[in-house]
């Protein structure tokens, strides 16, 4: 028995077996699936056919996995431009599910699934959860929004597929979430990391000590979060926190997930082929280099996606994981290429603001970045919600807090920032995701 199979035996959940496929078999499978999906996209989707024809690479030119780089990219605006059904490769009668993203500009983007697509989606989520050490017998609370958003239903099917008991609370109603978590003996929580931070704060206010509950695992995703947030979550709630990755355009949550090593997220690359490219030039970069993640669906039927630009900045970790999975890993996504703000010529990432705030209070309050332009000059304001833990009865103490945050931000960002303390819950939240940046600068 070779080393990979031994590792599979240790990990022991049968659903995880494909994670340990020997590399040569995995590459063969990927090539075979890539050829099929490119042929499907060319045959059924006008946009893909036109693009391939104009770049001179047709499906029969794909003879190895490296030939993938010869195909043109697909972007989010392609989904908007073909709204609603222009990228479907299956007739509507074979589509069993539609999801749509809350569009920030104009029309939403629509994604479709055949029954087989739903089954694949469920299977990758089962592998995510199994990799987090969850199994039959766990009680999983799914507090992602249910509905058009892929988070809720995706996690729901995955949890059922695993054989867990699902508590489909959807988002909102923090007090009820906490009550059910406690009364039902919930062992695992699925939601956005920001929402779980909110539940931690609210539980403390209600006098519920999360550390004394059966809750032991959290699977958090749908927005970038940091190692310091993980440390804070784990310390305050006593759980093991996992990062899960996905996007509707590819399938929803479950494109990748951490294993218990917590050293990057394994991509389920038997279904989603990852590449890293230079975000400026689009040139493919070798494993280990940081760049933009580009994904190609290898088995999707209703809506295949060829070289989709995720805008997420990461790298493929070059070494094998100690867990023994042969699936390559990406680094945790700290930022997106379009998250980057340029303020007075300086690159600013919201995650930098987050780490500065964590340094000050040891807690992560909700915050929002507001950008305006006054007399031709960019102004950056960071609005920070005063939590009950941060609040002090003395004006001087609050002013000190304000100026400490201010100097920490000035130091981290290298630009002058205005800090405003605002009332708790005054920053709007949607789908459990906080809206981090409001840009009111007119171009």
């Amino acid at each position: 028995m070779n080393a990979t199979l031994d590792a599979a035996a240790v990990d022991c959940h049968p659903a995880s077996l494909p994670d340990f496929t020997p590399l040569s078999d995995l590459r063969d499978l990927q090539l075979q699936r890539l050829q099929a999906v490119v042929a499907l996209a060319y045959r059924e989707v006008e946009l893909f056919r036109n693009r391939m024809n104009s770049c001179g690479t047709v499906p029969s030119d794909i003879r190895s996995l490296t030939d993938l780089a010869r195909l043109p990219f697909t972007t989010k605006s392609d989904l908007r431009d073909t709204y609603p059904f222009g990228l479907f490769a299956s007739p509507m009668k074979d589509v069993v599910r539609l999801h749509a993203s809350s569009g920030t500009t104009g029309k939403p983007i629509v994604v479709a699934y055949t029954q087989k697509d739903v089954d694949v989606w469920t299977s990758v989520l089962v592998r995510c959860f199994a990799g987090c050490g969850l199994h039959h017998g766990d009680i999983m609370q799914v507090a992602y929004g249910y509905g058009l958003f892929t988070g809720g239903l995706g996690a729901h099917y995955g949890a059922e597929g695993l054989g867990a008991t699902v508590v489909p609370t959807s988002g909102g109603h923090a007090d009820r979430q906490i009550m059910l978590m406690k009364d039902f003996g919930v062992t695992a929580m699925c939601c956005t990391p920001t929402y779980f931070l909110h539940l931690i704060d609210r539980a403390a206010e209600l006098g519920v000590d999360l550390k004394t509950l059966p809750l032991r695992t959290g699977v958090f995703g749908a927005e970038p979060w940091t190692e310091s947030m993980r440390a804070h979550i784990e310390k305050m709630s006593g759980i093991e926190a996992f990062d899960i990755y996905g996007l509707s355009e590819i399938i929803g949550p479950g494109v990748g997930c951490e294993c218990r090593q917590h050293q990057g997220l394994h991509i389920f690359e038997d279904h989603f082929y990852p590449e890293i490219v230079d975000p400026e030039t689009g040139e493919p970069l070798p494993d280990g280099s940081e760049g933009e993640l580009v994904l190609t669906t290898l088995s999707k039927q209703a809506m295949p996606m060829i070289r989709y630009r995720t805008r997420d900045i990461t790298r493929i970790l070059p070494d094998p994981c100690e867990c023994g999975r042969t699936l390559r890993r990406i680094d945790r996504i700290g930022r997106r290429s379009d998250d980057m703000l340029i303020i007075r010529g300086v690159n600013v990432f919201p995650s930098q603001v987050e780490s500065a705030l964590l340094q000050i209070e040891g807690t992560l309050p909700h915050y929002q970045i507001l950008l305006t332009r006054q007399q031709g000059l960019d102004q950056m304001e960071v609005r920070v919600e005063v939590t009950p833990q941060m609040f002090n009865d003395k004006i001087g103490a609050l002013q000190f807090l304000q100026s400490s945050i201010q100097s920490a931000l000035d130091h981290v960002l290298g630009i002058r920032v205005r800090v405003s303390l605002v009332e708790a819950n005054s920053i709007e939240r949607s789908e459990g995701k906080a809206k981090r940046v409001i840009d009111r600068r007119t171009a």
């Binding site: 009950p388 609040f391 009865d393 004006i395 609050l398 303390l421 819950n425 005054s426």
Partner: protein, 142 residues
């Protein structure tokens, strides 16, 4: 001796005091005194109310940042020199005031001074030794 005061964080914007006031009104909580310490951008509302714990719980449940703080109340005569007299005593016994405010008191046409000290127990001892009469919560909320 100690009086419960509730403090609340509010932004310094039109209407931001109305919501908490409305919440307390709906629950039949009487506001005995209210003092606003403010900066250009935010303020702290300090209140002494008929039921401090209940008021704090109501506001917390609606997501307000609230603190319950113990303060001391001293009654002084409402005439020139009333405040100067008590502050002179405090100065003499060497205790530092974190903040204070005053409001009129109907009984005997006096005034109430509310004091917040860093070391409340020490302040109580010294004030009582100096012969200063501290108003109890029961008297104040009568």
């Amino acid at each position: 001796m100690k009086i419960q005061q509730i403090s609340l964080f509010v932004e310094n914007k039109p209407g931001h005091l109305a919501a908490p006031a409305q919440l307390l009104a709906e629950e039949g909580i009487d506001i005995r005194s209210l003092y606003l310490a403010d900066t250009q951008q935010f303020g702290i509302v300090r209140m002494i109310v008929s039921d401090g714990r209940k008021a704090a719980a109501i506001l917390e449940a609606r997501g307000f940042a609230v603190k319950v703080t113990d303060v001391l109340a001293v009654e002084v005569a409402d005439h020139p020199g009333g405040l100067a007299g008590i502050l002179g005593v405090l100065d003499g016994i060497g205790i530092n005031i974190e903040y204070m405010y005053a409001f009129p008191y109907s009984r005997d046409s006096g005034a109430i001074l509310i004091f917040r000290f860093a070391d409340l127990d020490e302040a109580i001892t010294r004030l009582q030794t100096a012969g200063i009469n501290l108003v109890t919560s029961k008297e104040l909320l009568k």
